[in-house]
């Protein structure tokens, strides 16, 4: 195996794991902030219980979002030296801003929110979770701005084989950014909505006694899910306009239509000269899975929304099972979507400027293999443990909150005490 393949596998693995957790974090934080707002405004205890229950699952999920993100940030320096060499002046800027403007604030305030339960004034504590949410979305914006530069490099000029930043605003107005960001945000909303609805549905199936918390949560989730699902589809297809304009070969391979493929090949020949500039044809498969999966989810979540009428959703029971089954689907679709976007960019690391082959560092393959095995084993194990903890807390319900307990009475959050 060569360094290039191993470095790509390593990045794909870490990134995919990272997306599983950040997608849910982005989705859930909106629910947690919304529920806490409902509590602050109405003063109803049920909203406090909802906030704490979903907040617990949110922070357990958050842990893995952080550690996978750490590995990713430093992987650029480890394996992708050519990328900094050629495009570091431009590509590094949004990443630097992500850490300084977004993540720094997000992590600081999340720590304060976690430890501020029953300690900080109500409205300040509420402001903290909203600041965490805003920072999380700002973070997504900067990361996608960096990624959009890889898809459609703008705002720079090339001098002596290196890119120099000439127009920072162009990075944010990039045609490959806006629709993709909204697509990703919609996916987070769908994943969060189905997560909230699915776990609530499970509690109704098991007839646990937390009816009030899960009745309201189910509504929140079932209302949010179709909004997310339909806007995913909307912004998904809108992106194809930019893809057709800037990466015609990618779109042709996604569609697998012979006429389109031939036309795209001619365009590549004109633009880059002889050579193979097509991504692997298998990206058509994740594309089909993503698209059809999103259609199914859109219809199914819409049906669930309609069934909220007169509480048919709960009374019929079958839709409850459907909601539980749908819970993991958005995560699969998110990975498929990223495969299409990133593998579809191949053979380029920065489209038209730098091939992936030249972007990779000159590291012995043995080292990359060892680090790949190390990262995959450690992160993989932690992912399994984290999902197991999330499942455990989801099953226990709102009685076992992690928040606001003190050193003197920590027994309440001990699961064995249940």
């Amino acid at each position: 195996m060569d360094t290039l393949l191993l470095a790509r596998l390593q990045f794909a693995t870490t990134t995919s794991l990272h997306f599983l957790f950040v997608t849910l974090s982005l989705g859930l934080v909106v629910f947690v902030a919304g529920m806490q707002t409902a509590y602050a405004v109405s003063g109803k205890a049920v909203y406090a219980r909802m906030t704490k229950f979903w907040g617990t699952l949110y922070v357990i999920n958050y842990a893995l979002g952080i550690v996978t993100g750490l590995v990713m940030e430093f992987q650029f320096g480890l394996n992708w030296g050519g990328l900094s060499e050629v495009a570091g002046n431009v590509f590094g800027a949004p990443l630097a801003l992500e850490t300084l403007i977004a993540f720094f604030v997000e992590a600081t305030f999340l720590g304060m929110w976690i430890f501020g339960w029953n300690r900080l004034p109500k409205w300040i504590h509420l402001a903290l979770i909203w600041l965490v949410a805003v920072a999380a979305y700002a973070s997504a914006l900067w990361v996608l701005a960096a990624n959009a530069f890889l898809q459609n490099p703008v705002g720079h000029e090339m001098r002596n084989g290196r890119a120099y930043l000439t127009d920072f605003g162009a990075l944010l107005r990039n045609d490959s950014l806006t629709d993709s960001l909204l697509h990703v945000v919609s996916a987070a909303l769908l994943a969060g909505g189905l997560f909230v609805a699915g776990i609530s549905a499970w509690h109704f199936i098991r007839r646990t006694d937390e009816v009030e918390v899960f009745r309201r949560s189910l509504r929140w989730g079932v209302v949010a899910a179709p909004v997310g699902a339909f806007s995913i589809i909307h912004f998904g297809f809108l992106q194809e306009v930019a893809i057709e304009r800037y990466q015609p070969m990618k779109l042709a391979v996604m569609y697998q239509e012979p006429a389109r493929l031939e036309a795209a090949r001619q365009l590549m020949l004109q633009r880059f000269g002889p050579g193979d500039f097509a991504p692997p044809s298998w990206i058509a498969i994740p594309y089909q899975i993503m698209m059809n999966g999103a259609f199914v989810l859109a219809l199914a979540t819409l049906a669930c929304l309609v069934l909220l009428f007169r509480n048919w959703l709960v009374r019929l029971r079958v839709p409850l099972y459907a909601l539980v089954v749908m819970m993991p689907v958005p995560f699969v679709l998110v990975i498929m979507g990223w495969l299409v976007r990133e593998v579809g960019r191949q053979p380029w690391a920065v489209y038209g400027l730098l091939t992936t082959e030249k972007a990779v560092s000159d590291v012995p393959p043995g080292l990359v293999l060892a680090s790949y095995v190390g990262f995959t084993l450690v992160l993989g194990l932690l992912v399994v443990l984290d999902y197991w903890l999330i499942a455990t807390y989801a099953r226990r319900g709102p009685r076992h909150t992690l928040f606001g307990t003190t050193l003197a009475e920590p027994a309440r959050d001990r699961l064995t005490a249940y």
Binding site: A63, I66, V67, L70, E73, F74, F76, G77, L78, N79, G81, S84, E85, G88, N89, V90, G92, A93, L95, A96, L97, E98, T99, L100, F103, F104, V105, A107, T108, F109, L110, G111, M112, I114, F115, G116, W117, Y164, L165, T166, F168, S361, V363, P364, L367, S371, G374, F375, V378, L379, L385, L389, L402, F403, T405, T406, L407, A408, P410, R414
Partner: protein, 320 residues
Amino acid sequence: MDLVWAVLLGLLFCGYFVVDGFDIGTGLLLRRVGHTEGERRALLTAIGPFFLGNEVWLVAVGGVLAGAFPLVKDRALGGMYPLVVVGLLVWVLRDASIWFRSRRGSLGWRAGWDRMLVVTSAAFAAFWGLFIGAALAGLPPAGATAGAARLAGPYPLLWAVAMVALFAAHGSVFLAVRLSGDLMKRAEATAARLLRPAAGLLALAVSAGAVLVLPKRWEVLLSAVLIGGLGAAALWAARAAVRRGRHGRALTLTSLAAASPVAVLLVRLAGDLPGAAADDDTLRTLGGFALVTLPLLVAAQAWMWWAFRRRVDAGTVVFF
């Protein structure tokens, strides 16, 4: 413009050693200072509200490297590839120990993660020692990866021992500031035991570097010895402060000491990296954002410290 960003990078990196330094130190001492399950939980609560806000300093170092010094990032990370990979894995496991530890009530589960936290905190401190020791000899040339002899030779190993002692001492003083009652007394006693050996090891590591490793340029040698000497002296003085019950002053002193290895490293590398910064246009753009956001970041962190300034006692909210 280069200079402004170099100073910012230096401040963030030094700040990281100060704030994550006592998290690492607390992890190291978890089972020594905390004897029962409840006491260990109190130790984790001492660092708890700050833990997330502390480690983001290193994330910000990575971000500033990527944005303002992309080529330095490649030489530091790629050049010390095996070491950096191990350091990342240790960091991930350290974090996981803190996050997972109290999520189940089973005492076996908690004791297991406690052991993991002690081991990974020690390994993380040692990693920083190896990193600094190896980098003091100069970063490997662009595109090259240093071998094991360079990354884990006698000199980096000396630094590894020194950093474990330094972070443990720093952590014990932090715990004396944050805890109360018996636990505070125990943290004080631990600090009194650790501070002098830590001072000695730091002085030894820096002076051995001046003789063996550092380039023979008087300005580098002089500032390295001066900074290292001040760091060691601060540790020595912190012991007296702890014994007189002046915990705040002691923490200020150990914080200076915790930052000193990074300062020595920056002095060593400063002359080596001409033209390593990103293009001026990039730096100016980033600078505009930084000008607006840095005061906000400082304010956010100051607010965090202010909000959770009270000592940990029975009524303190727990999470980790």
